[in-house]
Symmetry: C2
Subunit: 323 residues, 2 copies
DNA sequence: CTGAAAGCGCTTACAG
DNA sequence: CTGAAAGCGCTTACAG
């Protein structure tokens, strides 16, 4: 039997007689033959591998993202080649890559300074960008709508707290999500007729410690009691809540707190943390769907999908007595 | 200039005149040439890709593991091809794989029933197994020492709680870590002269809900006050602590709790959760080191390294007044 | 339905 | 130091 027939029996069995297919199958099983994927890729230009470039693999957000992407990829017969360091290096966001083994690339961007779409386009690889949505971008994008989520959080804060006692404590300036959330926070106050004072918006890092430090300083100045805070993410919000409680403020009676991300921690802290839910599972699965759509329809016009975020109300921001 | 010279200029510049190397570099830059990794891999049999097979990408443990592995891989010029679904499928733990693109495999095993080392050996790929350490295994392994960590946790519980009021609430039977921790828990009580009653060890799932459910039932029976619990992981421990607090028990005064994993949540809950620390960062980095060592010395005898675990004492298990 | 042959884009002895 | 040539293990027209 020729090597060509074996190849056909494995890849296009309908072109081969059933008896031959069966013989090939048996031989494959017995010998434990596995086709050389490099030789195959050299010819077919397909590896069924999707490159994933993440800004940082850190915390629950990214593990959930990876999980949903991996689940979806597996369903569709694809595999994930991951790298976060691409973004840490000062080089191109995709520099030095083995990513050429991938059929395409999912690039998550969180830093405004890192949004170098030309470098990405220069890779000449099908690409889906996650986290950025600029009008008229020539590449598929998937992002989530920080604005409506943040605005409904502020609306909820305003139910029980005057606008000048509302705060936003975000990540660092230049982080796309933090900036969008911060802007939405300010805009929501303005629509309520209040021009936010500069100190109503603070920027630090997406970390407990920053929330704790901010709250501690506010407590020292005696300005936290009676306030309401929207954290840039859940960690910051929990840091704030912890500092407040460590200093004897009760939540939500004396301080109302809302986080962002709706990570699994929200249900584990006491009081349970209200949070703006980001549909991370959809984000991962949609990114995989989008890159595969791009494989199948390389010339279709770029699609931009923006996933909704929603406020999940829990005890940490409750107004009035426990329900 | 011949194609062979270009290849040499890129891969072994010391074999080419400096002027030629420079000309090649320039041309590469201008044309944006990137070598075809499939063709290259076909010849060299090296891709600088490491396959990582995880039981489940879930929670902070796995995101930390991925992160440390990715950091280390990047330092050494390698990339990670991840899959968790390999373990979910009922097929071989590495079935249907694009992992043949990898130079080697890091396989993390957590289920006793999944420990099919013959199937792994049949892959005929350099392999490092994480999470299992059987004497005489013919493959490199990296694991962590659940026993000493669990034993020191029990010793700490016994400082303030009688042995018959100590409990272990673990993951499901068949989970390697849970079983080891459970066995160590029982053994520690025995060494203290107490044969543990069957109900002192409970098995469920590695999840808040299970901890919550277990504690709720214990509370209903009025058996939780004055007890001390070692959780199979931090989530279980937090679930237990939350249930206790929701029912008015104060921690650590009326219930002492220790978790396992020392995840970042331990510092975020109140009271802060004591926990047995697993050196996850070392685990990821060591796995990468080990697989690369295996690449470089394919015939060296298998190495088995076992990382220490240590109890981190925080308020949730404190004996006596706050320090 | 099957086989012989060309070729994917590289690397690496082998000559020069 | 450089080039011509073979070949890595596959797939895919092209004949038969």
């Amino acid at each position: 039997m020729s090597i060509a027939t074996v190849s056909r029996a494995l890849n296009t069995p309908e072109m081969v007689s059933p008896a031959t297919v069966e013989r090939v199958r048996q031989a494959v099983d017995e010998l434990g033959y596995r086709p050389n994927l490099f030789a195959k890729g050299l010819l077919t230009r397909r590896s069924r591998v999707i490159g994933v470039s993440l800004p940082d693999i850190h915390g629950l957000f990214f593990s959930e993202l990876m999980r949903s992407a991996d689940d979806r990829a597996c369903e569709l017969g694809y595999h994930l080649l991951v790298s976060s360091n691409a973004h840490r290096a000062d080089e191109t966001p995709t520099g030095g890559f083995a990513l050429d083994l991938a059929d395409g690339l999912i690039v998550m961007l969180t830093e405004r300074s890192r949004v170098d779409l030309e470098a990405i386009a220069a890779l000449n690889l099908p690409t889906v960008v996650v986290g950025v949505d600029r009008p008229g971008l020539a590449v598929d994008t998937i992002s989530f709508d920080n604005v409506t989520g943040a605005m409904s959080a502020v609306a909820h804060l305003l139910e029980g707290t005057p606008p000048d006692r509302c705060y936003f404590v975000g990540g660092h300036v230049g982080n796309i999500d933090s900036d969008e959330r911060s802007a939405a926070f300010s805009e929501a106050l303005r629509r309520d007729g209040h021009e936010p004072a500069p100190d109503q918006v603070a920027h630090g890092e997406y970390h407990f410690d920053w929330g704790w430090a901010w709250a501690t300083e506010m407590l020292r100045q005696g300005r936290l009691r009676g306030a309401a805070v929207l954290g840039g993410n859940d960690e910051i919000a929990i840091g704030i809540a912890n500092a407040a409680r460590d200093h004897g403020l009760s939540i939500p009676e004396e301080l109302r707190v809302i986080g962002f991300d709706d990570s699994s921690m929200c249900d584990c802290v006491r009081p349970k943390l209200s949070s703006v839910r980001i549909p991370v599972n959809d984000l991962g699965a949609e990114a995989v769907n989008a890159i595969i759509r791009r494989f199948e329809q390389p010339d279709s016009s770029p699609r931009h999908s923006r996933l909704a975020t929603t406020l999940v109300r829990r005890d940490s921001s409750r107004v009035g007595p426990a329900g």
